[in-house]
């Protein structure tokens, strides 16, 4: 009886609390526009659609040492792949697949699309190493090679559904996923694995631009 009574009191107290919550200035309801102005994160996020991976607040450096964000890719159809320069197995194949996808694109889209490689190996893949990779693979200006912090790489991988792990010898195990983004930065297609699917990927990329 006593227990039930105190439970009832507690419950009532909580209900009362629930109804009376907040009141701190930050929590005060405001019009959406005011909130955009007062909350920097909300303002930045509002620039992109709710499904855009460009909402990710992560900074990268390209192989020329320039700082950039994923949002810089906005407006272009994109193929993005996570890789590492010293990979001797899957990564070179994925780059070849991206080149094949590019060759399958209609001319008008082929010249607008961006082909993005983001390295897992933030310790060893310096801008200089990435620049060397670009030269070795003859990647032209439509290819964007990026290196981020541990955090930005891990968050991007999570958004793309890419799992990875550094092994004892320093190499990385990783999922092999090519992701197609529309000009808003929304994932529209993924080619998973290393076989086939290039026509579908190219078609998905072409379909992002009307």
């Amino acid at each position: 009886m006593i227990t039930k009574l105190s439970l009832l009191l507690l419950l009532t107290a909580r209900l009362a609390l629930g109804g009376k919550t907040p009141a701190s200035p930050a929590a005060a309801p405001a019009c959406p526009h005011c909130q955009e102005v007062t909350a920097p994160a909300a303002k930045a996020a509002a620039a992109f659609s709710k499904e855009s991976i460009y909402q990710l607040d992560a900074r990268f450096t390209d192989d020329a040492g320039r700082a950039c964000t994923l949002g810089d890719l906005r407006g272009r159809p994109v193929v993005v792949d996570m890789f590492f320069a010293s990979c001797g197995y899957a990564c070179p194949l994925l780059v070849t697949d991206m080149q094949a996808i590019r060759a399958k694109l209609p001319a008008g889209i082929r010249d607008r699309a961006a082909f993005v490689l983001v390295t897992f190996d933030v310790a060893r893949d310096t801008p200089a190493v990435l620049a060397q990779y670009r030269a070795q693979r003859s990647l032209d200006g439509q290819w964007i090679l990026l290196r981020g912090s541990d955090d930005s790489v891990r968050e991007l991988a999570a958004l793309l559904g890419v799992k990875f792990k550094q092994e004892a010898d320093g190499a990385f195990s990783h999922s092999n996923i090519l992701t197609i983004l529309n000009p808003q930065g929304e994932i529209v297609h993924q080619r998973i694995g290393l076989k086939g699917g290039l026509d579908e990927a190219a078609a998905a990329l072409a379909a992002t631009v009307k």
């Binding site: 009886m1 709710k50 899957a90 999922s175």
Partner: protein, 271 residues
């Protein structure tokens, strides 16, 4: 009974107000609230699973770990200060549709989310954002498992019979509708509580789990591997709870939220 209830109902408005006032002062922390950090000395963690390319043992440097999981009250302070992380505003990319869905409202945890109970139904992205906000980070798998490997009285808890009994008793219990309060669990050797027995917890590198060790395999095969090749490589097949943690981590996506999955923060030791 009925009479008593009626008299309670008559009394309640005044009582409730008094409790609400007292509780209100406690429930809204002034600044970023945070659990006490416990120093975990460095050591060696032996992963449950490994492939032929992995190290048999991972050296864990000394680090600081929250004494107990993050609570509803603390998470409320976070979403209050960071509107994009409120339930109604968060992007589905960063938290799925059950994010905080046991709360009454955006800023009202309500009766199913007591202030001192662990926050659950939070995504990996949200927990990382919280950790950054309080100047901390999520623990890595190796750190979490190293700390959680301790018994009540010894750094190696493998043969701690009482710990194992408590752990399996917890695993056998269904998830309660309302989580009990944090920090009620018996502290382990280091003084950390609730690593076992309250909720599952996110780790920073959850998306390491169950990669195959071969780049050519795609991530869709992981579940198969857990049943087949994965179990062959396990060091200790008796550690059923550790198997469950690995299975849970490998099944999660970064925007997933679920009933009994919360988190705690960690921090580097001062250099």
């Amino acid at each position: 009974m009925a009479t008593l209830l009626r008299s309670v109902q008559r009394l309640v408005p005044g009582l409730a107000l008094a409790v609400a006032l007292a509780g209100g002062a406690l429930a809204v922390p002034e600044a970023a609230p945070a659990a006490r950090l416990i120093r975990i000395p460095g050591g060696v963690y032996t992963p449950l699973f490994r492939t032929t390319k992995d190290s048999a043992q991972i050296t864990v440097a000394a680090f600081l770990l929250d004494e107990r999981p993050v609570t509803n009250a603390e998470f409320l302070a976070f979403v209050t200060a960071n509107p994009p992380w409120r339930r109604s505003q968060v992007s589905r990319l960063f938290a799925d549709s059950s994010y905080l869905d046991y709360w009454t409202g955006d800023l009202e945890p309500g009766a199913r989310a007591p202030a001192n109970s662990p926050v659950v139904r939070v995504s990996w992205f949200a927990t990382r954002a919280y950790a950054r906000w309080v100047g901390r980070r999520l623990p890595t798998t190796a750190e979490w498992e190293f700390a959680a490997g301790a018994g009540y009285t010894r750094p190696d808890g493998k043969n701690d019979a009482q710990l194992n009994r408590d752990l399996y008793a917890w695993l056998a219990r269904p998830v309660p509708d309302v989580q009990p309060a944090v920090a009620r669990g018996r502290p382990n050797f280091y003084g950390v509580r609730d690593l076992h027995g309250l909720v599952w917890e996110w780790v920073d590198d959850f998306n390491n789990a169950m990669v195959t060790g071969e780049s050519r395999a795609d991530s869709g095969l992981e579940r198969d591997l857990f049943c087949g090749a994965g179990s062959v490589g396990a060091k200790d097949t008796a550690d059923y709870a550790a198997f469950m943690r690995v299975a849970l981590r490998s099944s999660l996506k970064a925007n997933n939220t679920t009933t009994a999955l919360g988190f705690r923060c960690a921090k580097n030791t001062a250099p």
